[in-house]
């Protein structure tokens, strides 16, 4: 007799959902989707052991379970807490949670340089979104921010330790996708910093993925450095026949030129498939790729500026041959005067 599948019933912000035992509250909320999903800076579903570092996903458990209905004494990190049958969770409906999240954002921003105008991640930065939604406009911190020199990890990746929020995602990528641990966090507490051992250049086919997993602008693509702002480039889904990875990527176009290649990210900013360094850094010609469609972009995102859902959007102005001839003549006249 096949055992009946056990499902736990959880209520998040009043919305019930049935999930398998062992699911975390965060993943249960993601099954519902929408506004009630707690933000996550460090949790990454594709990386084993990630989560529990940044505390932005704090939620309030107002009822522990059906058997033990007492609420949990403190706010819990939803990415690390598994659900119980009959659990009731409050996320955006609880003022405590919002208040705590505000505090967490303030803590994350204590040492952040706030150099968004320079940072290449601006526009797709999760910390920007988070502080825009939950943060306060000014800081209460009166001391010098910790500063580091920027480090080149290999010739394609740049580390701005100033911007790092110590989410450990890149460390897990380096540990889980590559052989040999060369990337880690050294020192403790306030002094901790992401580093490779004696600034080793990391040479692994998949090390470029640390750029994609980084929720802030700490690890950025050197081949894209200062090329353009994210919101002036247009993302297009494309694929190619790659011997090492799945080859499914997003190309970021400016005009005819591919400025940047990244993995395809979903709504939680997690890549579908990790891509290899050849795809990311070396193949930046349209001829290398088979284009699929412009990447769907969230309506609120800044990247929607000038973004169309199809390759050749219908013309806004009706074609007028007489006007085209006149314009060509005028252009010729101006050229002569130059």
């Amino acid at each position: 007799m096949a055992e009946e599948e056990v499902k736990f019933k959880v209520t998040i912000d009043g919305i019930p959902v049935d999930v398998a035992p062992g699911t975390t509250i965060l993943n249960a909320a993601r099954q519902i989707g929408g506004d009630i999903v707690p933000p996550a800076m460090c949790y990454y579903s594709k990386l084993e052991g990630s989560g529990g570092k940044c505390r932005t996903c704090l939620v309030k458990v107002s009822k522990g379970s059906e058997k033990d209905p007492r609420p949990m004494p403190k706010l819990v990190a939803s990415c690390r807490t598994t659900v119980m049958d009959g659990m009731e969770v409050q996320n955006i409906t609880s003022p405590d949670v919002l208040e705590a999240r505000k505090g967490v954002v303030e803590m994350l921003l204590i040492n952040h340089p706030l150099d968004c105008p320079i940072c290449d991640q601006a526009g797709e930065c999760k910390l920007q979104d988070l502080s825009y939604e939950h943060g306060v406009a000014d800081t209460r911190y009166e001391f010098e921010r910790r500063t580091f020199e920027r480090i080149d990890i290999g010739d394609k990746i740049q580390l701005h330790m100033n911007r790092c929020i110590l989410c450990y995602r890149c460390v897990y990528v380096a540990n889980q996708l590559t052989e040999g641990r060369e990337h880690g966090v050294i020192h403790r507490g306030d002094h901790s910093e992401i580093s490779t051992f004696i600034e080793n250049a990391l040479d692994s086919d998949f090390i470029g993925n640390v750029i994609d997993v980084c929720p802030v602008g700490a690890l950025t693509d050197k081949t894209f450095r200062f090329k353009n702002r994210v919101w002036f480039t247009k993302p297009v889904d494309a694929h190619r026949d790659c011997p090492t990875c799945s080859g499914k990527v997003t190309l970021w176009y400016k005009g005819e030129e591919v400025l940047r290649v990244t993995g395809r990210k979903d709504e939680y900013n997690e890549v579908e498939d990790f891509i290899c360094n050849t795809c990311r850094f070396d193949t930046k010609q349209t001829s290398d790729w088979v284009l699929e469609e412009p990447t769907p972009v969230e309506k609120e995102s800044v990247i929607t500026a000038n973004h169309y859902a199809e390759f050749n959007p219908p013309p806004v102005i009706k074609e007028n041959p007489a006007l085209q001839v006149a314009n060509a003549e005028q252009l010729a006249r101006t050229e002569k005067l130059k």
Binding site: C116, P117, I118, A122, N228, W231, F232, V302, L337, K338
Partner: protein, 174 residues
């Protein structure tokens, strides 16, 4: 058809009388009005030599500002271009190299910064969007020109000239 406003008047036209027919009184009357204006206050001014006071929030030609050490403030963050409703602004960023610290304030700067003055509607949104206080629409009117290409203002026209903050302070205090 009946008029909607009921204010329609039918104008009577009569043949001109003797005085009207010789025209001279009308000419003298008209000339009188003209001569009277010679002694009135002139409502116009001689523009380029003489200028009316401008409103404090008048928005004229853009200028890219320098900081107190004479370094360019703009970091080519692109927020002005993003906020521009007329899409008049374009820029290309470049990285500051060693030895250029006295020229540019941040590690990134605008190598090319162009505003198409024919597109610009002088709304001032770029000024509002700028996080570095680098662009202000505090210049004079944008002057007329003959060719379209001359209306694309580059950094040569936009960046304000280098100034000495100490001298300016002294002049202000004196």
């Amino acid at each position: 058809m009946q008029s909607l406003s009921n204010r329609k008047k039918v104008i009577e036209q009569k043949p001109m009388n003797f005085w009207e027919r010789i025209y001279l009184p009308s000419i003298v009357k008209g000339l009188g009005i003209t001569i009277r204006h010679f002694f009135k206050k002139i409502p116009t001014i001689k523009y380029p030599e003489e200028q009316r006071p401008y409103s404090k929030n008048f928005r004229g030609q853009h200028s890219l500002k320098r900081d107190e050490q004479g370094r360019e403030r703009c970091t080519a963050c692109g927020l002005c271009a993003l906020s521009c409703p007329a899409e008049a602004i374009t820029m290309t960023a470049a990285e500051r190299t060693k030895g250029e610290e006295h020229l540019y304030r941040e590690e990134k700067y605008a190598a090319v910064y162009e505003i198409n003055m024919l597109r610009c509607i002088f709304c001032g949104l770029c000024e509002e969007a700028c996080p570095k206080e680098a662009i202000y629409l505090d210049g004079p009117h944008v002057t007329a020109d003959y060719l379209r290409k001359d209306f694309i203002y580059g950094k040569d026209k936009l960046v304000e000239p280098v100034f000495d903050i100490k001298k300016l302070n002294q002049e202000n205090t004196n």
